[in-house]
Symmetry: C2
Subunit: 342 residues, 2 copies
DNA sequence: ATCAGCTGTGCAAGCGCTTGCTCAAAATCC
DNA sequence: GGATTTTGAGCAAGCGCTTGCACAGCTGAT
């Protein structure tokens, strides 16, 4: 270790503050502060001096102090039901990326699909963040609006009148899927429903019905089943019983369970029955057979949600908007032509 | 809407503060503050009065102000390379859960495997959080230690002398896997390596070699390959060429790619070649064949990391410890007995 | 020379909360 | 009953930063 030329014997472990920089440069605290926040106001020479000292000592503003003074924290809250649900990571990633690029950090919390915990989290976040993104919130409209009165809120995959939201409808995807199945000779479809109360399940049911009618196909709605592999396993029994030739599951995970269940019952996928999922989760393309599915634009959803939130932050008066994103269809190996029954 | 009995015409939209409560109850601000932070110091009657008013008006302390006054933010930072990598969600979830239960919120950010971004994030987090958990950090030891000088840091899946870390070694899992393969008649193993510089890849290579020696099996290390499905696809070619009977891939995703690649080359898994992965990612059990793999205790890792961090927060002097967690072996359908060559 | 208008900087008042210290009243002791 | 301790509460000084306002020194128009 080389001897220090002069100055204090050791770099003080206390973090640099406006004051320490001000003292070193020989200006007032306000000037240093403004050198960062309103650089135009400061003379070029002074500013450069300040900035160079700041980078040398690795100055990082104390966020709490800034937050207290400005009333803004530069933090956004992202509430998801369960980050381990493969639906969310891409969304979270996109949201965090966008937020970061705009100078915001992201406080992540998961609600465990538990309305009570969700409400507590929302409340606790209030004093920590500038705005919140709520993904598939379970709470009633009341508590959510209560929060929205205090901080900008954007809903993802849930709409509440008068609030900004971004939702991904399966409509386009289901339409294409059912065209695809129809062309392959299928004349009926079983929909394996998930959480009955969720916006997303309702959307799927209604889209399936609408497009079935359009194509003259029959629809059976089974369930609700757990949106899990085991839920799919269970559902497989019901599918087999019904001698259905085509199945759409609430999500990809359930679809994989269904495929496994059907296989164990001696039914070939896609030979005997075609199975499709929803979400186009990361693994959907990696299984065998690869999963035919409806891709949800969740990266876009995450990014959009943050954009909408930042919009609201920038112009508080803004009227709420309900953005609707559309899905797409991805044909893979788990769907095929209907087989002539023996 | 019923008429309000008395009091102000409408609940002021400004958030409640210590002062507003103090005024209403008729005590000083300090008393209200202490009613929350040091309740023993306050008379029971006063305290109850304060608490009841507080809950009625939905008081939430201003975190910035508290942070400024105490120097603690009650926020932890969790840096992961990529939340969309299925390895991380369970870890993040467990970490967030543990932190939440101890009164801490979690700031999540992803580094995109990018050392520069990682360093910037670490620095920026410094002023926002009380401590950081760094998952598989890419940065050199220097910058990391620099951060650790300012705030407690816990490393996950990376060890740096003198720092607290928690790592999951594949040792136990590899041992069991290789016993399993040996019993099934395999006498050689191909290891498909991932990012050569990562601690985790080194660990895998050395464990594989050690246990191969123990069992008298041969080892071929191929790669490095991208730790992705495509990486596995590529690797499959090399595996087929070598006429290997057993393969261990760097991670589950690569393993799935390998299986697909082998299948496309006309090799049956596990008939012609057994394939195992690492991590026991959510989907590992859902594919067909279900993936034989080495399960990493990443929930435990996430929880432990947070615990270690909170320990350091509670008792700053504490000597750094390197916790090592062990993996386990999960036999599923992608591994089987070696087939007599024609 | 005079004065208005800039520019660049400093002053000082907070932002809402914590906390060491002070102090009055009540409880306890001898 | 007086001295001492305990209890409950308030005062006030910050924590580090932002920002409205004041003001000194220039510039350039008059």
């Amino acid at each position: 270790m080389t001897r220090r030329r002069s100055g204090p014997p050791s770099p003080s472990p206390t973090t640099a503050s406006l004051k320490s920089i001000a003292d070193e440069v020989g200006v007032s605290i306000s000037t240093v502060s403004r050198a960062f926040t309103r650089p135009e106001l400061i003379g070029e020479q002074t500013r450069n001096q300040i900035l160079s000292v700041a980078t040398r000592v690795g100055y990082q503003p104390n966020r709490s102090a800034r937050g207290l003074a400005t009333g803004r924290t530069a933090v956004l809250s992202l509430l998801v039901p369960d980050i381990a649900n493969p639906f969310f990571p891409p969304l979270v990633r996109a949201a965090e990326n966008r937020a970061y690029s705009q100078g915001y950090a992201v406080l992540l919390a998961h609600t465990d699909e538990h309305a009570e915990r969700e409400r507590r989290l929302m409340r606790e976040m209030l004093s920590r963040v500038d705005g919140l993104v709520l993904c598939s919130p379970r709470s009633a409209a009341g508590p959510i609006k209560e929060i929205a009165r205090q901080r900008p809120v954007v809903l993802v995959n849930r709409a509440i009148p008068g609030m900004t939201s971004v939702a991904c409808s399966v409509d386009v995807g289901v339409s294409a899927l059912m065209d695809h199945l129809h062309e392959l000779g299928h004349r009926g479809l079983v929909y394996l429903s998930g959480p009955a109360s969720s916006w997303s399940d309702k959307d799927k049911r209604s889209c399936v019905r609408r497009h079935a009618k359009r194509l003259g196909m029959t629809v059976d709605v089974l369930g609700p089943f757990q949106p899990s592999f085991d839920g799919g396993l269970t559902a497989a029994g019901a599918v087999a019983e019904r001698r259905s030739t085509a199945v759409l599951a609430y999500d990809d995970v359930m679809a994989l369970g269904t495929i496994r269940g059907l296989t164990e019952l001696g039914l070939d996928v896609p030979g005997s029955v075609s199975v499709a999922g929803c979400d186009d989760v990361m693994f959907a393309g990696m299984t065998m057979p690869a999963l035919t599915t409806i891709a949800m634009p969740n990266e876009l959803a995450g990014r959009t949600a943050v954009d909408l939130l930042l919009d609201q932050l920038a112009s508080p008066g803004r009227t709420p908007q309900e953005v609707s994103l559309s899905s797409s269809f991805v044909a893979r190996g788990s769907s095929g032509p209907v087989r002539r029954t023996a």
